[in-house]
């Protein structure tokens, strides 16, 4: 019963994009194999073909020497393949046991007895592998880390011997990550094969037996961690020398920073309390302020209240208590339109849901928040010609790759869409900018661009709140940094005191100040 997977010459095209081109990949029993590459490299696509989500255009998949033709995940599950997706494929309103049972074909009825059997089996597996979860809990009640455990448990319940984890550490605290991998190691020791997809070098070096690097849909190489270094892996990932770290750090005017700290804060937030969508508290007593010409980074693992904070700051969600003021005026009850007018801007975390309207043209999207205002017209008439003219200029200035201003925004890649959003936001008269996960899902070139723009805006005197899950980003960009954990701000450092380990620990809730109530993080304080 030793699984071994062999994928040969896998190719897949989506429309005009060649996502995979002739990729070979193999998996040995008992190994933990990392699939490394930056966003868009094709890692998830490759594993999706293994999981039966869609067939490859070209190429073969062989499991245990038998060639496979998967028509659906059901086929793959039957052959012992299990996948834990980056965005959990769990139904929030159902219980853990119900989620596990979903899709089974054991007769039409689902009596209480059946669910009890399932729960027992789940509990047994949970015990064996140290995945602590209550089968009767409803998924929406569980934390992110717990939900991930449910996903793994479910895969095991379905008999997975080949386990694929897509970006498993993206939503985990460093501590939870530390706990996850030994469990995976235990599974591997029993003969299971594990693939984890990631773009985090540290995880790969620490935990993988072998590493396969993909770049732009092609396999660059497969090697052992001992045979390589972080630098070389990064180079393989990106294809050129990476200057990720240096972009902002060295190019900043130190004098500006000091001055900025003495100026009066632009954004003042006091005592914010808010619930999330399911009625559970998301923000607990959050207070901070930001001065002009500084970037306040709020670091945190996904799921600790950042979306709610983003929404409350911009008027998309009403807090229970607390105030938000911009330049001294209270905007707590103001809607986004008013906040825009007062000079608050937002780069939303979900650019396709909130940032861009796909059915409209690039020119229209670039003027989206200024329809009816000069120079784009008045309340009685829009000036489209001016919209197009300004759009052309913004396209040039921000290097947005489009055939023309009339191209539909829905056809833009992630990087270009984000350039569009930035162009729109930064072309306003802003006093304060909220940048929420601005580089999520972008390739390195786009990431650099975003960082450059934010740094330049900061140098021009803008106050920026940067919400980020990416440690590298935080370490590069922050003038001051604090950490959000379970809806509270739990740590605060000025740039000089920033340290990868410290921030990482705080993000995981394990810091000196974790036990104290939320800090009030005002500029000028260090």
């Amino acid at each position: 019963m030793k699984p071994s997977v062999s994928m040969k010459s896998i190719a897949k095209r989506f429309g005009a994009v060649q996502a995979l081109a002739g990729v070979d990949f193999d998996l040995r029993p008992g190994e933990i194999h990392a699939l490394l590459g930056e966003n868009g490299a094709g890692k998830t696509t490759l594993m999706n073909t293994l999981y039966g989500m869609f067939p490859p255009d070209v190429g073969t998949i062989t499991i245990d020497g038998r060639e496979m033709q998967f028509h659906s995940p059901q086929d793959a599950i039957a052959e012992g393949v299990g996948m834990v997706h980056q965005h959990f494929m769990l139904v929030p309103t159902l219980t853990v046991a119900e989620n596990a049972v979903l899709g089974e074909r054991n007769g039409p009825l689902l009596r209480k007895r059946d669910l009890a059997t399932v729960s027992a089996r789940l509990a047994e597996l949970a015990d064996r592998y140290g995945l602590d979860v209550d089968p009767r809990a409803r998924v929406w009640q569980l934390s992110v880390g717990e939900q991930q455990r449910v996903e793994v448990l479910r895969a095991l319940y379905k008999g997975a011997r080949i386990l694929i984890l897509d970006e498993p550490t993206a939503t985990l605290t460093p501590l939870e990550t530390e706990r996850l991998f030994p469990k995976l190691r235990a599974l591997a020791a029993e003969g299971a094969s594990i693939v984890f997809i990631t773009h985090h070098l540290e995880d790969v070096i620490s935990w993988a037996d072998r590493i396969t690097v993909l770049r732009r849909g092609e396999r660059v190489g497969t090697l052992r961690p001992s045979e390589s270094s972080a630098g070389e892996l990064a180079r393989m990932m990106v294809g050129r020398d990476v200057r990720l770290m240096q972009v902002v750090a060295g190019e900043r005017s130190v004098a500006g920073t000091r001055e900025a700290r003495r100026a009066a804060p632009v954004l003042n937030v006091e005592g914010l309390q808010s619930d999330g969508d399911r009625g559970t508290p998301a923000l607990r007593d959050v207070s901070f302020s930001v001065a002009p010409g500084e970037i306040l980074a709020i670091a945190g693992v996904e799921g600790n209240g950042q979306p709610e904070l983003e929404e409350v700051l911009f008027g998309l969600r009403a807090p229970h208590t607390g105030t938000v003021s911009l330049d001294g005026s209270d905007v707590t009850g103001a809607d986004p339109a008013q906040r825009l007018r007062l000079g608050l801007g937002l780069v939303p975390s979900n650019r396709y849901r909130r940032g861009v309207i796909r059915e409209l043209s690039v020119a229209e999207n670039l003027a989206l928040d200024r329809i009816g205002e000069a120079p784009f017209g008045s309340e009685l008439r829009m000036n489209r010609r001016e919209m197009v003219r300004q759009a052309e200029e913004l396209i040039r200035r921000f290097s947005i790759q489009v055939s023309g201003p009339d191209q539909l925004a829905g056809t833009l890649s992630g990087g270009n869409a984000q350039r569009l959003v930035l162009a729109r936001v930064l072309s306003r008269e802003l006093r304060c900018l909220i940048a929420a996960q601005p580089t999520r899902g972008l390739d390195v070139g786009a990431i650099e661009f975003v960082w450059e723009q934010l740094a330049a805006a900061r140098d021009r005197g803008l106050a920026i709140v940067l919400l980020s899950t990416d440690l590298d980003e935080v370490l590069s960009m922050a003038d001051r940094c604090c950490v959000i954990y379970r809806g509270r701000l739990v740590a605060h450092w000025p740039r000089e005191e920033l340290d990868r380990e410290r921030v990482g620990l705080a993000m995981g809730g394990a810091s000196e100040t974790a036990a104290t109530p939320s800090l009030s993080v005002a500029s000028g304080e260090t």
């Binding site: 909130r354 409209l360 329809i371 829009m382």
Partner: protein, 351 residues
């Protein structure tokens, strides 16, 4: 992108091949529907060719016929324009029928009770009353949706029933025509009646309807309000983030579409029935939905679709008299239109 995609399909931006394909989809749907209509005629024992000829003859053959067709078209155009705008914002006002009746009621009351000495002012007052009350009836739905997220399809629909019953009550009791059978309301004062065009048998409300078409086109394509409506229709969250006040848009759209429905009702009372008559609408509020969809939610399309359907319905009467084919066919066909349109639309877009 999902729900908005279909709406996007219908109101695609002006790119030539897109327009062309959209036109072909409409044409295809119309053709297929006429074929189905032909089939129904055969089932009913008539000859399709003769029947359709009688239909065209009846509608366009005489000045009187043309006039009747235009009379039918007027409320369809007016309400259709309002619904086209509302649907663009994904505000599905199914209550136009009720808003029409409430507007008609208000207009009729003013036209009956206000002192006659006002002359043309009386007409103006009656129309304004109709528009305001129709808008108000629609606003109820708008507020419920904007404030509490209550589904506007159901609320507007249920209010239809309530509106029609209120109208019927007023006709039956307080404002019943003296000495007449149960369901005849009082006549409006002669000064309040809309004058008719000299040769065609249609009231001057026609000009109002036609004037609304370019106005609506302008609002939809050139005003920030029209643009915000589209933004909201495509992606309400992104629109909100960009500063669009969705509550205002929703209520605004219900006020406009309700007001236009009220206007249509008002014109029916003042120009057609000239009394409070429950028969002033045989489902205009619903047929206008078809008009809006068939017209691809834009002003010219609505005009053309309204004329087409008016043609069908007015000619249909002649057809049923001459060929013995049930009038109900022309009621069935608009619905069939939309189904075929949806299919043809999807096929034309590929995907």
């Amino acid at each position: 992108m999902s729900v908005s995609q279909a709406t996007a399909r219908i109101i695609a931006p002006p790119q030539l091949s897109r327009r062309l394909r959209s036109l072909l989809a409409s044409a295809g749907a119309v053709l297929l529907s006429l074929v189905v209509g032909g089939l129904l005629i055969v089932i009913a024992g008539g000859d399709p060719v003769d029947a359709y000829r009688a239909l065209l003859d009846g509608a366009l053959g005489t000045p009187y016929g043309i006039g009747q067709m235009l009379v039918l078209a007027i409320p369809l155009i007016i309400i259709g324009l309002g619904l086209a705008l509302a649907f663009r914002g994904r505000v599905y006002n199914i209550g136009a029928e009720g808003q029409l009746f409430m507007g008609a009621l208000a207009s009729g009351v003013v036209a009956i009770l206000l002192p006659a000495g006002f002359g043309p002012l009386l007409i103006g007052a009656a129309i304004v009353a109709g528009v305001l009350v129709g808008a108000g009836w629609g606003a109820i739905v708008g507020v419920l949706r904007a404030r509490w997220g209550v589904n506007e399809v159901i609320t507007s629909l249920l209010l239809n029933f309530v509106a029609i019953l209120i109208f019927t009550y007023i006709v039956r009791r307080p404002l019943r025509a003296p000495g007449s059978p149960d369901l005849q309301g009082r006549a409006i004062q002669p000064e309040a009646a809309l004058p008719a065009l000299p040769d065609l048998a249609v009231h001057i409300g026609l000009f109002l309807a036609l004037a609304l078409v370019p106005l609506a086109a302008y609002v939809m394509a050139r005003t920030p309000f029209g643009f915000r409506v589209r933004m909201q229709g495509f992606n309400a969250e992104a629109a909100q983030t960009a500063g669009v006040r969705s509550g205002r848009i929703i209520i605004g759209l219900m006020l406009i579409s309700g007001g236009l429905a009220g206007l249509a009702g008002s014109l029916q009372i003042l120009g057609v029935a000239e009394r409070l008559d429950p028969g002033i609408s045989q489902g205009y509020g619903f047929t206008a939905i078809v008009v809006a969809l068939l017209g691809r939610l834009n002003a010219i399309g609505v005009l053309l679709a309204a004329l087409l359907i008016a043609l069908l319905q007015s000619g249909g009467q002649a057809m049923s008299v001459i060929e013995g084919v049930p009038y109900a066919i022309v009621i069935a066909i608009p619905g069939v239109f939309v189904v075929f349109l949806l299919i043809a639309d999807r096929l034309a877009r590929g995907h």
